[in-house]
Every structure is written in C-alpha cells, then in structure tokens.
Point group: C2
Chain length 128, copies 2
C-alpha cells in the first residue's frame, strides 16, 4: 500500500485512487454536498487545483485524454476525480466505471515522481 | 424523439441525453480537446452554465445528488455531463456508466417545463 494522501492544505486534500491509471481525487476539507453549495472563491480554487493536476498529467504521462468527474452518491462530500486515460488501458474509450474492454497494456512512468511534481506545482501556485 | 438541442448561444450549446434521469450535456462550439485547452474566460462561462443547470435541477427535481463528468474519449470535444440522480434510479449510488442495480421507479416532473426553466435562467444570466 502506498500512501493515499499526496497533498494537503488549509482547504483541500488530494488522494490517489488505487488503479492501473494515474487517478487523483481532490477533496474539500469542509463538507459540501454539491459543487454549487461551495463558496464561489473556494470552488474557483478547486478548479484551479484541477487545472494544475490536468496540466501535470498531460506533461508527465502524455495521456490520450484527461477525464474528470464529480459523483459523491455514496458519501455526499464534494470531490473531483481526475484521471489520465490511455488507448491501452482496460476501459478506453469507455469511462473507468463502464465495461472493461481488454487487459491493460501500460508502461507508465514512476508515480512517486508524478506526485512530487503535482505537489511542487501546487506549492508554486499557492505562493504565486 | 424529442428535440436534442435545448439551448444555444454564441459559444455553447446544450443537448439532452436520452435517459431515465434528467441529463444534460454542455458543449463548446469551438473544438477543444481538454478543459485546460479552453481560454480561461470561456471555461469560467462553462462552469457558470453548469452552476445554473445544477441549480435548476435541484429546484425542479429535488434529486438525491447531482453528478457531473467530462470524458470525451471517443470524440475529443469538451462537454460536461450534468445528471440529476435519485435513490430509485437504476444505478444509484453507482455512476450512470456503472453496473445497473435495479429497475428504475421514478415519477419525474415534465421535462419540457424543466428545459424552459433552464433556458430562461441562462437568458437571465447572459442579460445580467
């Protein structure tokens, strides 16, 4: 088991999902049921964090596509899924929750280095 | 077949997905592959439209949860899915792409009236 939480600040924390693909989840610390229940400024920050993760995923993994989702049906606590998708992952082009189409054939770069870059980019952003 | 496109302005159009649940898709007119490829101002507008739809869905249908997703793996054209979820829909609490859990038992208010309200709210917003 690797560490689940890769980043934390006053308002958010970021966890990785155990998966064959790079998959991060951005949580608010305060509990909100819906995105629209969040204060506007905080929601702006949530999407800025999404932006940074998307950008780092694109640069580091060169994925076929980035996927993003917000469900929270089981536990109504706002969190954004950010996933890097590849043509040879098990589900592509289906969403990760849909039917599996094949055995994955992925040779991905080191994830610890990716988390390091994400954390670095988030720190740069919060200092900027 | 009802009409698919319920709204259109200079930058966006909104289509309904044929589904047992209220489900709208917000498309950009210009083609962008990733959310991060959009000009910042346009992306802000995209999430403002999401906000308005979420808000109207909550008021009109009183759903258990709103779900949101952006995939575009098949056709890389930015679009946001906005779905109203109910405890008695076929998949709850699973995402709509996941395993079906039951036969839906839904008695939803008239969808044409809902679209009317969404369009009205979007027009108010663009005038405001």
């Amino acid at each position: 088991m690797g560490r689940l939480r890769i980043y934390e600040d006053d308002n958010f924390f970021i966890e990785k999902e155990e998966s064959e693909i790079p998959w991060l989840k951005i949580f608010t610390k305060e509990l909100y049921k819906e995105l629209g229940d969040m204060p506007k400024e905080l929601r702006k920050q949530l999407f800025e964090i999404f932006d940074i993760i998307e950008d780092e995923m694109k640069k580091y993994y060169n994925p076929a596509k980035i996927n993003m989702a917000s469900f929270g049906n089981m536990l109504p606590h706002v969190h954004l899924h950010v996933m890097a998708r590849f043509e040879k992952d098990s589900y592509f082009p289906n969403p990760m929750w849909d039917e599996k189409l094949r055995e994955a054939d992925l040779d991905l770069a080191d994830e610890e280095e990716f988390y390091k870059r994400v954390v670095e980019a988030l720190k740069q952003f919060s200092l900027g």
